[in-house]
């Protein structure tokens, strides 16, 4: 083997190993990003659950009933004051 081809091979080897180091680094960086995104996803899911829970706590029928009756002075309309409309009827 001539000297020149030996040098080329060594240079290629060096280049490849540097690229390997680089891609390994990239992989780890991306992995950390993925981890963060997944954590964020989990946190958002938890928050969504929490908000749903809060919504049902606030929309509790007993609460709505109490507020409507006491602070808004509302009452159930009697059947005499209710008019029913049915679709398609005149």
């Amino acid at each position: 083997m001539s000297n020149r081809s030996l040098i080329t091979v060594v240079a290629l080897l060096l280049l490849c190993s540097l690229l390997l180091v680089n891609s390994q680094h990239q992989a780890r960086r991306l992995f950390i990003e993925l981890e963060r995104a997944q954590l964020r996803q989990r946190n958002l899911e938890t928050e969504w659950d929490q908000l749903q829970y809060e919504q049902s706590t606030l929309a509790k029928h007993s609460r709505i009933d109490a507020i409507a009756r006491t602070s808004l002075n509302m009452s159930v309309p009697g059947a005499a004051r209710t008019q029913y409309l049915s679709v398609g009827a005149r």
């Binding site: 780890r28 950390i32 749903q52 829970y53 919504q55 029928h61 059947a79 005499a80 049915s86």
Partner: protein, 585 residues
Amino acid sequence: MMRAPTRKAAARGLAFSASPVLAVKLPAWRSRLTLFLLFGAFVAVAVRAFWLQAMSTDFLQRQGAYRYARTLEIPAVRGKITDRFGEVMASSLPVKAIAAVPEEVEADQNKLRQLAQLLEMPLPELKKKLDSDRSFVYLKRQVEEKTAEQIAALDIKGIQTQKEYKRYYPSGQTAAHVLGFTNVEDIGQEGIERAQQKLLGGVTGSRRVIKDNIGRVIEDIGYIREPQDGTDLALSIDGKIQYIAFTELQKAVEQHHAKAGAIVVLDVKTGEVLAMANLPTYNPNTRQGLTGAQLRNRVMTDTYEPGSTLKPFTVALALERGMVTPTTVLDTPPKLSIGPASIGDSHGHAATMSVAQIIQQSSNVGTVRMAMKCEPREMWDMFTSVGFGQVPRSGFPGEVAGRLRPYKTWRPIEQATMSYGHGISVSLIQVARAYMIFARNGEMIPLSFLKLSQPPVPQRVISDRTAQQMRSMMEKVVGPGGTAPLAQVRGYRVAGKTGTAHKLEGGRYVNKYVASFVGFAPISDPRIIIAVMVDEPTAGGHFGGQVAAPVFSSVAASALRAMNVPPDASVENVIMPTQMIPESM
């Protein structure tokens, strides 16, 4: 003095090659020994290398991995339970468990006092826990995130927090018996939480990772098992009707100073349970000091003697067999003797009554007259085909079959009393479901606590004609001259049957009552069945028509409005009689 001549010789410049030392012949074994030792050393290195590489490689690799690889647990979240409209009824939210490694705990009095305060635990108790011999103790579980942060801020060595989940029930005591609850390990203990544990409970996942020196995850290695979150469950329960049913039942139980009460609302078209409530109840969010009475599910797991609410089945059988028609007039003496026993009514009535009047005024004598014309086997078949003595198979834990003895063992008096609901025990849900045959034109369908996408396949029990006749007779029960005018609903035609039964205590009937009412509405096209039971009412009457019927009326009115069911009667349909007819027991 020995050295002197040698030194002299060197000084004299003796040539190296002439040195006499060179001429000395070493013994041959010495070089061989050196060679052997060197060779031996190489062999030792080779053996060692072989040992490490081939023999103990697993152990070493494990030790290596132990130093950089970690297995992380990925917790799965328990599924949510929602009502039929997607409103959350039970949800798991993250909380913290506060734990300690007693050996490592180092804290001064002041910090311990603060910790005790945050844990809402007396200081001596905390100290006792920290004094334990165990290597790990939970100080308190399911601590709210905020409190856990404050505890972490105290920065006490040996105290750690762990992530866990707590189950929250926004509807509180209203739907306690439907939902049930879970324990601290997130495993369902009662109700739907228990029945659907497999579906709701997730599978914890795990992953193998490499962590760097500051604990960040750098890379996944080896296996990853994805956590499987529990499935969300949509119940058949309608949150609004559940609330209405619960509050109306509560009012009745308070008003009549009753020991307990139960109510169940069924969807006639699909067999779904729209509401189920029990009193006394409990708050599933804070379960300290729960008593058995609070936990009891009187709809599903308790049986009682239903009394007159069973009469319609006897009458339906007589109609179905063509023995009578609604207008057939029967002799109804005040007392009827069957063997050594006699059966009577608690109120006077005409000496002859039509079948319709027998139902309307809930006459024991009249019902028994019809029952005695039937074969025991026919009656048994009727009761069995509407579900008495059978487990309802709704998938709810702890549901009971009740007691319906085989017809071969019936004595005539027993057949007679069973015809009006004594000597047989049933659960409230069984009675409610049995009324399907009247509300659904003679068909039965299975029950469901889960929201259904399509209605189940019905099974015919009695003919359409019999069901229609029963319906119009049962509508008269709530009219003037019936036992339950208080069950009337403005704008809707309703039908039902009252029940008032003496309670059995130690094998004898005592003067304690179970008042019940089972009915359905609207008559023109039934949508809901409501069964109400009030246990031991002690104030303001004890008849089903006085105690349970008003609950039916208000729940039916609100539920039908909530379901957007158009009225099938004018709003002036409610007629209150001046005098109520007490029913027979």
